[in-house]
Amino acid sequence: AQSVTQLDSQVPVFEEAPVELRCNYSSSVSVYLFWYVQYPNQGLQLLLKYLSGSTLVESINGFEAEFNKSQTSFHLRKPSVHISDTAEYFCAVSVPEAGTALIFGKGTTLSVSS
């Protein structure tokens, strides 16, 4: 069975500092990988995804994630965070052979302060 581990439940950082949110997955078959963001009292929004091709994927708001097959990781990074990046971030996997449903990690709360 597939599983997702987000290694940090909370990550506090100062504004304009770099940040990395760590995600590891476990699967014996190929997976697709996703990062979702959830702002307070809102639903989840897709931040970025890896399906195939380049292992480095980027979002429109400066986040990037790199798929590392050997380390089964998909860490999320941003070189300089803003107060508005404060949110809950979820890493998720989908197994193409088994359909399109997502398996989520427990989430990482990113708190950006000035």
């Binding site: 697709y32 639903g43 989840l44 995804k49 998720a92 359909g99 449903a101 997502l102 427990k106 989430g107």
Partner: protein
């Protein structure tokens, strides 16, 4: 921009009562998902529909939960009777078929509190 609609946004009910949640996916999205998100956890799939057919309900507690999508558009998730452990956020998501099937769009959720 089209959004997934859910109602109600908040629901408080007593245990043993019945409760229902409604979801209206983005127009044209054939696939609809119901997830449950317990506080401090990631969402977990309860049921997945392709049009009006159930694709996966293996994690749905069928003794008390039911879900339907009669016309392949909107969907209802019901709990009867509700238990204290059902307190959670219930999220609905939808996606297109084909190459973009993996892009799921989530609604704002229904936060259920069972007392």
């Amino acid at each position: 921009e089209a959004e997934v609609a859910q109602s109600p946004r908040y629901k408080i009910t007593e245990k043993s009562q019945a409760v229902a949640f409604w979801c209206d996916p983005i127009s044209g999205h054939a696939t609809l998902y119901w997830y449950r998100q317990i506080l401090g956890q990631g969402p977990e799939l309860l049921v997945q529909f392709q049009d009006e057919s159930v694709v996966d309900d293996s994690q749905l507690p069928k003794d008390r939960f039911s879900a339907e999508r009669l016309k392949g558009v909107d969907s209802t998730l019901k709990i009867q009777p509700a238990e204290l452990g059902d307190s959670a956020m219930y999220l609905c998501a939808s996606s297109l078929a084909g190459d973009t099937a993996y892009e799921q769009y989530f609604g704002p959720g229904t936060r259920l509190t069972v007392t």
